[in-house]
Symmetry: C2
Subunit: 114 residues, 2 copies
Amino acid sequence: MTSIAPTPDPPYVAVIFTSLRTPFDGGYAQTAAAMDRLAAAQDGYLGHESAREGIGITVSYWRDESAALAWKDVAVHLAAQHKGRDSWYSDYTTRIAVVHRAYTKASSPLVESP
Amino acid sequence: MTSIAPTPDPPYVAVIFTSLRTPFDGGYAQTAAAMDRLAAAQDGYLGHESAREGIGITVSYWRDESAALAWKDVAVHLAAQHKGRDSWYSDYTTRIAVVHRAYTKASSPLVESP
């Protein structure tokens, strides 16, 4: 995932998932790719961004919190979450946030009024 | 930055900065490290997480939006932002969000009530 998610104007929901991996593989990359495809097919999915460099950071964007929660509870995703907790991640934090302001390089006000 | 930021209980503010780099170096790593140190010294700073793998994702956490805005407007940080826009980043998006719920591996409810 090497592109910036083309999200609409705020407000929308961001789910920030930060993780540390164990050395265990067990199909991690295949499951991650399958979860990316499945998430993208969910109602209310707006996009996601992901990078791992020691720490892994995945931010997924959703129309609203109910869309984010619905994805969390999709059965095959729940199975992946369980395997993540038990095998793939030595630690992780999930934060659910509401994006209320955003700007891009093209629209960037480097000095803005508070 | 290979640790998960030990943020307090929500609510707090997350600034999600997603970027694509140009091939231009020009002291990027040194400036990034200096900005990390300077940010950590700001009032209201709670922590940050950062990874680059094609795309770069940096999430910084702040007590409230005024603390995040104050950091944005620190003079030496503004200079770095200008250099980022002009030289280091081919594209970027900054999203300001309020984290209202968070859980860790230790506290994680894999199935939670909506």
